[in-house]
Amino acid sequence: MTPELLITLIMIVPLIIAGGIGVAGKVPNIREAVTLIGAAILFGLVVMLVMQVAGGARPELVLGEAAPGLLFAFKVEPLGALFAVVASGLWIVNSFYSIGYMRGNRERNQTRFYICFAVAIFGAMGVAMAGNLFTLFVFYEILTLSTYPLVTHKGDAAAQRGGRIYLLTLLATSIGLFLAAIMWTWALAGNSLAFVDGGLLAGANISPAVASALLVLFAFGVGKAGLMPVHFWLPNAMVAPTPVSAFLHAVAVVKAGVFTILKISMYIFGADLLASTPAREFILWTACFTIIVASLVAMTKDNLKARLAYSTVAQLAYVTAGAMLANQAGFLGGGLQIAAHAAGKMTLFMCAGAIYVATGMTNISDMRGLGRKMPIVFIAFFVAALSIIGIPPLAGGWPKYELMQGAINGGEPFVLAVLIGSSLLNIIYLLPIPILALMPPPGTPEPKPFKRAGGAPFLTVAAPVFTASLCVVIFFFAGDIANFLAPAVSGGTATSIIGAQP
């Protein structure tokens, strides 16, 4: 298949799935089959595309002109391909899990739920493959709007409130700051928004003040990246059903945010302009501040999902920090973190969901000793937590290593300290959960019996186990991923960066 056809299919398949789900809405089994088969087909297509990208191809597809100079264009480069493969791959896992969760919980409006999921994947694919800022923005907003019904799925007052904050924050930042930054870029770059290797604005004559203002607009305008102080939509979105939370954190939404930041740093600013922009330091500090403060806040949360949410805010600020280091190792670390964190955080959320379906528990303090009853779930949780902390041989180790390398290369030693501190904090707020569950201190009362007869449904246990094993697998394939990303992070020149690699 030609790459153009592949891109077209990747964009069309999620929509067909959404339509198919809508048509088959009355028959749950067929509906779920449509989701799963569609997800598998999508993943297959993305993998085929990734193969071609790995072979050095940079397929492009121009759909048309929205307005003079504003193209609907797709262009696949390694970073986008990585994001696409992570999102579409985890969607399969997430779909299996959702089916177990939604049926286990007997949720209402399941058809709407799956349709919105498919549309959201459509948005994520568009973000991943966008060939210019305009296209990226369009799909970014599709992602926002299609996840709003997912967040408010429960429909009660709390869900509506959380959903309203979610939507308002994301729309306000994107229309308010991101769009303004896009328009400004358009004016500065002489009517172009294309992603250019080495940076669209690299050649333009831009004063440091303007570049700084633009960078700040981008960094806070991409609200999905969850940089403090625009992170608060994430904890509020915790009212959503667990598969949605997993999706928001691990698969698409926050990922799309940090991916956008990386993409802007690499292809709009370019390493050189970014390095000479004064505000870069400020955003870097903000990211470091976010890493530490979000970890501290996470420690105070007893609600498991809230703790994980703040953990996500902290972990994904790594990517922003990596982007702001403005060197190869930084970009590479950011890219790796997208993949590594996806596997780890996905596992954690799915474990939380499995516990909720089985017992109805949401608070960490209630879970002592629960590991005796649900050992597999908590072992998966333990593995994923280790990965998030960054202990080899688990996926989370490499991005941290690369980021530290980048911090040293970039002459920002304090980032090093922040990363180490963050790992320590991770240990403090994540590890006690599985350890206390699996090995409760003597005298702990027996945990309450299962709310649902038979405990967690099979699918909600199998899915986290699978992603936990992915954490291990990714560790051993990190070199390949790094090689895959190498042409992108080195600014288009095909220099080998294997020297700095495992």
Binding site: A66, A67, L179, M183, W184
Partner: protein, 510 residues
Amino acid sequence: MIDLILNLAPAWALEHAAPLLIMVPLVLAPILAVVPSGRIAWIMSIAATVGSLLLAIVLLGLVQTTPGNVLSYAVGGWRPPLGIELRVDSLNAMILLMISAIAVLASIFSWPTVNAEIPVRKRPLFYSAFLICFAGLAGVAITGDAFNLFVFLEISSISTYVLVALGAGRDRRALPAAFNYLIMGTIGATFYVIGVGFLFAATGTLNMAEMATMLPELSGNRSIHAGFAFIIVGLGLKAAMWPLHQWLPNAYAYSPSFVTMFLSATATKVALYALIRFLFTVFRPDFAFEQASFMFLLAPLAMAAMVICSFQACFQTDVRRVLAYSSVAQVGYMLLGVSIGTTIGLSAGLLHMFNHAMIKGALFMAVAGVVLTYQGTHVRDFAGLGRSAPWTMTGFAIAALSLIGVPLTAGFQSKLQLGYALFDHGWWWAVAVVVFSSILAVIYMGRILEAIFFQPPLNPRKHRKEAPILLLVPLWVLALANIYFGIAAGFPIGLARDAAAAAFGVEAFR
């Protein structure tokens, strides 16, 4: 499409398209007044507006193919500087196309609402007044004579007062609203006439093109300055420029649904067109006094409208008033584009005018559907309608998203162009205001959308109560146009750019 109509049109239509466009509705109007049946009047008014639309397309085609891109028609054979000239260039061809297209959709959509809101024996008269109003608006857009513009402005305004007052059948507050509109509108028109008088005193001509050629020598003349001020205030009143918009919310809220829809999509737009015509064609943006007025008068007023009226919209409980205040705020966007004073800025303003006509047209049509089926326009009357009237409300939602400026809708395109024009001119602080106002739009439209789709209905209604098909079709035409022109905005942007170039008198701008 345009070529096809051009080829099919008979020779007399090509030659006399400009006057025919006004004459068709104007001649039909008195005939309608004596027609016995409302239904016949309705069909005839559709025929008249369709005829005008075809003629508007013919005019657009002719303008695009004529060398120089200007059509001049001497009414009654009296040659231009003396007689009344109908002058069509890319700017008013666009406006004519816009208002006649809206008029066609409006008259198709009118029947169910007129049926419900207007007493039987008044229906023919109602349609007669509508056609006069339309003819007046088209006349304002087409004439090249400053005084003739006043006459057409008043023709449309007086019939508008009557149309607004007809809302008294549903709510008597329509009467004082119409009276206030009459007072304010008359003051505006009279201010305009005073301004034209000053210009006439200085130049000795009423023909706009002639004035434009004479004004540069007189740019230091006091009476020119006075005339400029009077004209801005007068037309600003008609265009609901903040703070001269006080007549608008009540007039929109209490007039018959159909009138609200038609007026919101056309009346202020045409007044704004007249303002643009004076600001850019008759006067020149390079006159120092005009630069100053852009910078210190129009731009601040536009931004005040965008912020203050959006705020007011957030606190309204009646959906029609929300939309009315939002209209004033949107006029602010257009004025901001205009006040940049560059071709890019003007074309952004014109593009937003075009898009806003589609947006507000669709929104008010959907509201009319709710009035028809549920007799209420309070926000809480909309609760849960997403389930009982999904088609109507989806149309509403599309237009609402377009108003907010969500990507893939027409509203997004106009905001993008406006933002670009502002950055291009170095007015980045104005972008901040645009952005802030957009966020307010998210709030005031989001409130209604949330009621529609996420709140349980007030009184659980068993039946699906969709708006009638005659209402749904035009509504969806506009809603889909919002999406189409959001994805492929080449056509309106091309029109707006040509129009801006024509307003400036620049031919080589593309």
